[in-house]
Every structure is written in C-alpha cells, then in structure tokens.
Amino acid sequence: MADVNIAVQEEAPHRAVRTTSATPRRAGFMVGSVLVNVILLILVVLTIVPFLYMMLGAFKHNTEIFGTPITFFPKNPTFENMTALLNNFPFVRWALNTVVVAVVGSAFSVLLSSLAGFAFAKYEFRFKNVLFMLMLATLLIPNQVLLVPQFQVIRELHWFNTYEALIIPRAVGAFGIFLMRQYTVNLPSELLDAARVDGATEFGIWWRIVLPLVRPGLAVLAILSFTGLWNDFLWPLIVTNDTSMFVLNLGLGALVGPYDYQYGILLSGALLASLPVIIIFLIFQRQFIDGFIQGAFKG
C-alpha cells in the first residue's frame, strides 16, 4: 500500500517534467499513448469476450449455439436452458451446498488463522520457532500428493459424502496463519498488557481487542478463502459421490460430456455459479487484487 502511494506521488512530477521537456515530441507521445492503450484494450476485450459469450449463450437456443453464422447476442433470448437446469437437476441443492461450504469454511479459516497468527505474533513460548517453520514447510507440499491417502482418512472417519469432509480438512492453513500473523505483529503490545491488567483472559484479548483491530486482514483472508472454496473441484470430487452432496462445480462438471449436446444448460449453470463470485469481486475489487498479490508474496 505504502509503496503504491509513493509510486503515485512520484509519478506526477515525473510526468510533468516529461511533457514540458518533450513539447516537440508531443506527437510521438500521442502515438505511443494510442498504441499502448489500444493494445491493452484488445487484451481486455479478448479476456472478457469468452466470458460474455458464456453469459449470453445461456439465453440462446441450442440450435443457435450449434449453428452458423455464430452469433454473439442471442437472436431470440430464451429461459429454456435455465428452466431445464433447475427442473432436471438438483441445482438449488448444489448451490446451497456450495454456500454452506464456502461460508462456514471461510469463517473457520478466518477465526482459526487469526487465533494462531495471534499466538505466533504476540506470545513467547517454547518451540515457537520450530512450530512456525514447520507450519511454513507445509506450504511446500503439493496438494495432489496427499489426495489418495487423504481419501482413505476421510473413509476411516466415515466422512465420505459429508460437510465435514468438505470443510474441516481445509478449515485452517499455513498461508492464512502467516497472513494473519503479519497483520497482528504490529499491534501495540501495551494495549494487550493493559487488558491483562484489567483482568481480561487471553481468549478475551483475542476476541475483544485483536479481532476488531485486524479487520482488514480478516477481509482479505475471508475473500481468498471464500473464492478458493467456491472454486475448488478436485477435493469435492474425491470426497463426495452422492449428487445431493455435490457442490456447484461438481454438479456442473458432471454435466460436461453427457449434456454437451445441450450446451445451453451448461452455460446457464456456469453463469449462475460464477455470478456470486463476480458480484463479490466487483464490490471488493481492491481487497481482491491486494489480497491475491499479498497471498502470493507472503505465502
């Protein structure tokens, strides 16, 4: 954040110097400006067009999706794909499952990560450094390596086809703890000590003082966890096979292939499933982009 601000502040005089000294080259600046912006706009269009094609395709008849000439906007907009999706498949159930997993899962992630991050940031205890390094080392393990034995653990716990299986193993991770530690470590320790003098319990200090103060970090982590859980496919694929326990991705994935000839259904499902994340993204753009960058660099 601070870096960005400094960059912006220094950019203004930089630009002023450039334009005054380059008056004879103003035409060159114009050409460069048009060129760079056009190229970037083309890239943005190339990124967004497939998306819009999916959204608009949800309202096309299948004869239009599989017909020439290929249209971008639907000729005769229809809701037949939506109704077919909602009538023939437990789509609402899949959506509810996804909401439960993403909401409960990210709540767990935010609370447990903050709790552990608080411990690593503000306490001195034996084995602290060893535990911290051990925690960070878990980031190096590729998830795929664990799939087979994790499936066996889920079976032994009798968690197959349960919310527990979808939520608990991913309830708290090293990245979240690390992120929350970064947000907690700069809080003034005097504040915590003052609360101790007033008789607050350690848990009470976390709940009443630390949590409200690290809210920006909680927001970033909540967004990252929610998106991660909402978008995951491989883990639900491993731990559920009952269609009533499917999350959206799994349900939609099961339609790819057998229902290819009714691609409109797939597209309307994709539209409905991606809408919540897109809406949240449009509202919290800044937190999203900052979050992903922080996520990458601190994780």
Binding site: L146, N231, G253, L267
Partner: protein
C-alpha cells in the same frame, strides 16, 4: 499436604484451578491457539504423507488387498508410456507458462506502468477476471472457445485466413490449446506480480540514468530487468508449480485424450488412484511429482540466484 487437599471442598478445588489458570494461561494459551492447525495437519497432512510413502511400496487393488511390491511401482514409472506422456504434457504446459505467459505478462505490466496509461485500474480489473473463476467454469467456457466448428478461437483465426483447427480433437493441438487457455486465465495475475515488482524499483535509479544520458531501452536493460530478478524467480516458480495443477479442463473436456495427448500428472494420479484404484502406483506417481517439483524449484534458484527467494 495430601490431607489438606482432601479436605478442600469441590468449589474450593475449582477455585484453585481457576487461580492456577489465571496465573498460567499466558503460557498455555498460545499452544491452544495454534493447536487446531497442527491437529488438522497431523490428520490430513502428516499422516497422509507418511501413509502415501508406505503405500508407494505396495501393489494391489484399493486399500485392503495389497502386497508388498518393493520399488516395483517406481521401476514401473520408467516403463509406463502413459506416465511418460503425462510428464511430457505437463512439462509442455509449464514451458508455455514460463516462456510465453510470463514474458507476455511482463510486457503487459510495463505497458500498464508506462506514462501512456491513465486508467491503470481499468486494465487491472479487466484482466483479473479469470483468476477468480473456477476451473470447471473456465473449462465450460473454453469448450465453446476451442470448438472446431463453432468455436470463438477459430472464428478469430478465420479473420486472418487461418483454417479451422481441431483444438480438442487433434492430438498435437490439445496442449497448445490448454496453454492458450492458461494464458487467458493467468495473464492478469501475472501482470500484477510484475507490476508489484516494478513499483518496488526506486525511481531515483531512472533519474540518475537519464542524467547520465541513458535511453529508455538501456534503462530497461540495465535497471529494470536486474531489479526485477527476485520477482522473476517468484513468477517462474509460481508458473511451474501452478502448471502442475492443470486438471479440470483435460479431465472434463478431453479426458486426457485424444490418445493421452492431454494426460497431465494430476489427472494421471486421479486416474490411477480413483478410477483404477491402483493406490500404490498413484502414490508413487505423486511422490515422483514432488521430487520433480523440488528439482525444478532448485533449478530455478540456481538460474536466478537465491537473492530475494526468502523475501
């Protein structure tokens, strides 16, 4: 002592416990706070790692009927043509990320960072979209984009007079198709990584260079590129490790085909472990992949140096 304690009422001992907790909670609390993570890691991380390693020396169907197989699974890796294909395909995808996606993202970042661009946020948001979209939905979208007859990509190529390509049905084109999909998906976030790197470079270097008469190209060559080294290492490692996650599209759109042309390592682990129930062999594949990833990461560190790796 013992009699004194015995004489204490129950309420008294609870009071004692309370007092003891008040005195010692600061020492014990941190262990309780970090416990959830370590308990979950023990059950769903450490135990599976060890169990998977043991499994990789066994052969058999499912978890119950298995016999000791020694290094058999690992030896089989070298004779298994499908495994070889999976390694090759995944490497091809990783190379695409490393040598096409990453430099392209750097160019985009330089463009966004240039004095020519006023609405940086517009481009950042516009390119960021795919990152928050699930692999399944991207696969559904690209089922339409890559279609031979009605696909958007072939229409675009048609405008330039390039004949329609069977992206998903013609073996040599399948991995390039997924590389294109990967570029579409990850261009925005990679540009943001590079942008973060560019913003971290002290502007004074450029001012000093321009006073010394350096032009923009030599500033880029002698200041920007060397200063981006830590980010370069980071972007490269991200690109490689991310490439090994390619699963949804090959699984849903081409089922690893045609003729294993889109079989990836993760897909092969899934196929062996959860479709053929060859859990021992699946574990061996997984372990070989871990070694491969570690080697690649170490190679990266050798190429780009340690500098900044820990930052």
């Amino acid at each position: 002592m013992a009699t004194a304690q015995a004489r204490l009422t129950e309420g008294g001992s609870r009071f004692e416990l309370n007092q003891w907790w008040r005195r010692n909670q600061r020492k014990i609390a941190p262990y309780i706070f970090v416990a959830p993570f370590f308990i979950i890691f023990l059950i769903f991380g450490l135990y599976p790692i060890v169990y998977s390693f043991v499994l990789s020396f066994y052969k058999g169907f499912g978890f119950e009927q298995k016999t000791f197989f020694g290094l058999g699974n690992y030896i089989h890796l070298f004779q298994d043509a499908r495994y070889g294909k999976a390694v090759l395909n995944t490497t091809e995808y990783a190379a695409g990320s490393l040598f096409i996606l990453s430099p392209l993202a750097l160019l985009v970042a330089l463009a966004i960072n240039s004095v020519y661009v006023r609405w940086k946020g517009l481009y950042k948001t516009g390119l960021f979209f795919p990152v928050i979209t699930s692999g399944v939905i991207i696969a559904i979208i690209f089922g339409r984009v890559l279609d031979q007859q009605y696909g958007l990509l072939n229409i675009l190529l048609g405008w330039f007079g390039i004949p329609a390509v069977g992206w998903l049905s013609n073996a040599p084109f399948v991995m390039p198709a997924y590389i294109i999909m990967g570029i579409w998906t990850w261009l925005g976030i990679n540009a943001l990584y590079w942008l973060a790197g560019l913003n971290g470079i002290n502007k004074e270097y450029y001012e000093a260079a321009s006073i010394d008469g350096a032009n923009q190209w030599s500033s880029f060559l002698y200041i920007t590129l060397p200063m981006l080294r830590p980010i370069m290492l980071f972007v490269a490692i991200q690109a490689i490790i991310g490439s090994y996650n390619l699963f949804e599209a090959p699984f849903l759109l081409t089922q690893g085909g045609p003729s294993d042309a889109s079989m990836t390592l993760t897909l092969y682990i899934y196929t062996q472990g959860f479709q053929n129930f060859n859990v021992g062999y699946a574990s061996a594949i997984a372990y070989s992949m871990t070694v491969l990833l570690l080697v690649l990461s170490l190679l990266n560190i050798r190429l780009f140096g340690w500098k900044g790796a820990g930052e």
